[in-house]
């Protein structure tokens, strides 16, 4: 089905199940209970999961396959956001043209930047992409204010033309992004007992786009093109002496991943119609690198896991404060309780970035293949234990992914 191997198809189904049932999976605790703070089934958080998932899937096509480490990919996401918001301002509040324009514009930008940056490789490539992204950030922040809204960002206004839509709603408000009458912010609640599950139009729209993006990335990974990209990472010299021109291959990968970033940016603007320069800053580029590495660069599902993992814990960690900690450790004697809370304190709340940095270092040091490699190791360990129990050593070797 879908022209995929059995293994890839099951991966796609897994992601489909995870995303489509996310409102249930992410809300395992009844509302109002003490554990409810670990719920993550809110529309805007779930939207972030999938949008950053798309961003990371695209980044992985470049970094995971070719090994070219771009430190400026957030610029394409930012460009996509701006393009989408302009479409909302000028054309209509329908998200389709906005997202299309976002993808096209970011594709053009990545074509230009990729064409120049890919003339160098290694660290030089990283620095070039970083320089371009910082340049775009600086311009968006200052000189290009008429186009980008500068420091305040680009927002919708009541007097925007919106030639195919209405400048204002009958009530005199700014209209909201939608898809042929479905508003992105619409939600339906399902109450079962004391559980509340929220189904949001915007989330499901993003989720479907994620599935399509994921499917496309599987196809690219399994295609001759994907194999060529892995060959670029492995040995460029051999590529050249095999009659292959590596530059169009890397450029195509760069543009595809730039368009994924633009798609993510367009979706972001569709969920919340504003765009700011800070989305383009190099720290934002660093974040997508983190997601991809943490999940497992070069694997199919890794970037999705990495994005979900980081965004989930970002949300949870930011919410935990000392009071929460005290309530958790209240079973300990007072002195010990205070000591434990004191030790954990720097890592929670605003300390999330510290936790993230440490986690990231640990992953790079001990688990360069990310969560996916971790999972494989655990599986391998379990299997070897099992086979030991059975008294038979089964040496099953899978061709590594």
């Amino acid at each position: 089905m879908f022209n995929l191997s059995k293994k890839d198809l099951s991966l796609l189904i897994l992601v489909a199940v995870l995303t489509l049932f996310a409102p249930f999976i992410l809300n395992p605790f009844p509302a109002g209970s003490a554990m409810a703070q670990f719920n993550a089934g809110y529309p805007d958080l779930m939207q972030r999961f999938v949008i950053f998932g798309i961003f990371a899937i695209g980044f992985n096509i470049l970094f995971g396959l070719t090994g070219y480490l771009s430190f400026g990919h957030a610029a394409f996401l930012g460009v996509g956001s701006y393009a989408a918001v302009w479409m909302f301002k000028l054309l209509s509040m329908n998200v389709i043209p906005a997202i299309l324009l976002a993808v096209i514009v970011s594709g053009l930008f990545s074509l230009l930047i990729g064409f120049i940056s890919l003339r160098r490789s290694g660290i030089y490539f990283s620095i070039l992409t970083l320089a371009f992204a910082q340049m775009m950030f600086a311009l968006a922040y200052s000189v290009l204010t008429p186009v980008t809204g500068g420091e305040t960002g680009l927002q919708l206004a009541l007097n925007d033309p919106r030639i195919l839509g209405a400048s204002q709603t009958p009530e005199g408000n700014i209209p909201v992004p939608g898809l042929f009458g479905l508003e992105m912010r619409d939600s339906a609640d399902l109450v079962i007992g004391s559980w509340v599950f929220t189904f949001n139009v915007g989330y499901y729209f993003c989720a479907l786009v994620l599935l399509a993006s994921f499917y496309l990335s599987i196809r690219i990974f399994r295609s001759p093109f994907g194999m060529m990209l892995r060959a670029v990472k492995s040995n460029q010299q051999r590529m050249n002496y095999t009659g292959l021109n590596t530059r169009p291959y890397t450029l195509a990968a760069f543009v595809i991943s730039g368009m994924y970033a633009g798609l993510a940016g367009g979706l972001m603007a569709s969920m919340d119609p504003l765009a700011g320069a800070e989305r383009m800053q190099w720290t934002a580029s660093g974040e997508v690198v983190l997601m991809t590495i943490l999940g497992g660069a070069g694997t199919l599902i890794g970037p999705v896991l990495g994005a979900g993992f980081i965004k989930y814990f970002e949300n949870i960690f930011s919410k935990i404060n000392d009071n929460v900690l005290h309530s958790w450790f209240s079973f300990l004697p007072d002195g010990l309780e205070n000591a434990v809370v004191f030790i954990i304190h720097p890592f929670i709340g605003k300390g999330w970035h510290l936790t993230l940095g440490i986690l990231f270092m640990l992953v790079v040091i001990f688990l360069p293949g990310g969560l996916v490699e971790g999972g494989q190791r655990i599986r391998g360990w379990l299997r070897s234990r099992k086979s030991k129990d059975n008294g038979s050593a089964s040496h099953e070797t899978n061709p590594a992914e």
Partner: protein, 343 residues
């Protein structure tokens, strides 16, 4: 003419900071072959050494001074620094006033220690890993260091003044025969420039005239050959890392009066310093210094009103623009050596 001199002077202090950071980055890259994204964090830690010493020196106890009254007529509470008790009031105040220069002494051992621990504890294990891994792990380290500083010192910039003797400015223009007040230049910036020149000269002399430096230079040229000679190059490289850390740290200490230190200053400078290293030529020490000053001065020229009027926003992007042009026309940078990172 006067405007040009002024811009050159203005560019020198930022250029000095770029040059000092880029020098350390190049030393580390040239000797250890590691691309260190945490180098900016070392600059920042240096700056916070000054903040820390300042705080230590101004540690105070409170007394109630009956001779003074506050506006309600109650006896005034006065904070008395402990150094007053140790050295007397006049000497104590002088010590506090000179906190930034004194921090240099404090920062050297701290920075060397930080550098050596970093190299032995983390970076050593990454020599044989791909450059991408080195970038990633040092990037992670930079985040951690930055967040630790933020945790202890907060997110706001902390003003750290220069000694009173160096407040005020030099009327440089008058000395050259221009009208007074055309070219004025703060004393501390002159100090910073001179300091940078001394450090840079010191590093070069050290590499040029000592046996240690000779081995390091040989190692930069060809690590394997030096290893074959049976010289314990690893130990020397650890020390080199400590020195590079100290150079970055001292640059940070002295920069505090120019820009109040904050936790993300390291990253701000790092991105630009990388650009500087690449423009100068990966692995070339003179290139790093030259490019540092060049870009500092260029940046300052680009912020002139006359230039901005012609090309708006050029001051924001000039460094990146120059870097892109240089990388594309001279792939090895201004003074890069053949065979360094040419893959």
């Amino acid at each position: 003419m006067d405007a040009i001199i002024l811009q050159i002077l203005n560019g020198l202090d930022k250029g000095s900071a770029y040059a000092l950071i880029a020098l350390g980055l190049t030393l580390i890259f040239g000797t250890l072959g590691v691309v260190n994204f945490a180098h900016g964090a070392l600059f920042m830690i240096g700056a916070f050494c000054a903040v820390t010493l300042n705080r230590i020196l101004t540690l105070s106890y409170t007394i109630i001074d009956d001779t003074q009254k506050d506006f309600l007529g109650n006896p005034l509470k006065v904070d008395v620094p402990y150094v007053h008790g140790l050295f007397g009031q006049a000497t104590g105040d002088a010590i506090i006033d000179w906190a930034v220069p004194l921090s240099l002494i404090f920062a050297i051992p701290v920075m060397i220690l930080v550098g050596v621990v970093m190299e032995r504890g983390l970076i050593k294990h990454f020599y044989k890993r791909p450059h991408a891994d080195q970038i990633l792990v040092t990037f992670g380290l930079a985040i951690v260091l930055q967040e630790v500083i933020k945790y202890f010192y907060g997110a706001n910039p902390i003003p750290t003044p220069a000694p009173a003797a160096f407040k005020g400015s030099l009327d440089f223009g008058a000395m050259l025969g221009f009208d007074p007040n055309l070219i004025i230049y703060p004393y501390w910036r002159i100090i910073y420039f001179g300091f940078a020149a001394v450090i840079i000269g010191g590093v070069f002399a050290f590499l040029q005239f000592t046996t240690f430096g000779m081995v390091v230079r040989a190692g930069m040229a060809d690590r394997e050959t030096v290893g074959l000679l049976g010289i314990n190059i690893d130990k020397r490289f650890t020390i080199m890392f400590g020195i590079a850390a100290a150079v970055a740290g001292l640059a940070g200490v002295m920069y505090t009066p120019i820009n109040s230190p904050n936790y993300h200053m390291g990253m701000d400078f790092l991105v630009l310093s990388f650009v500087v290293v690449v423009v100068g030529g990966m692995g070339s020490l003179p290139g790093a210094v030259l490019a540092g000053f060049l870009l500092g001065v260029l940046e300052s020229f680009a912020s002139m009103r006359e230039v901005i009027d012609i090309i708006p926003g050029i001051n924001q992007i000039i460094i990146y623009l120059v870097a892109i042009i240089i990388l594309l026309t001279r792939p090895r940078g201004l003074m890069g050596r053949k065979g360094v990172m040419e893959d």
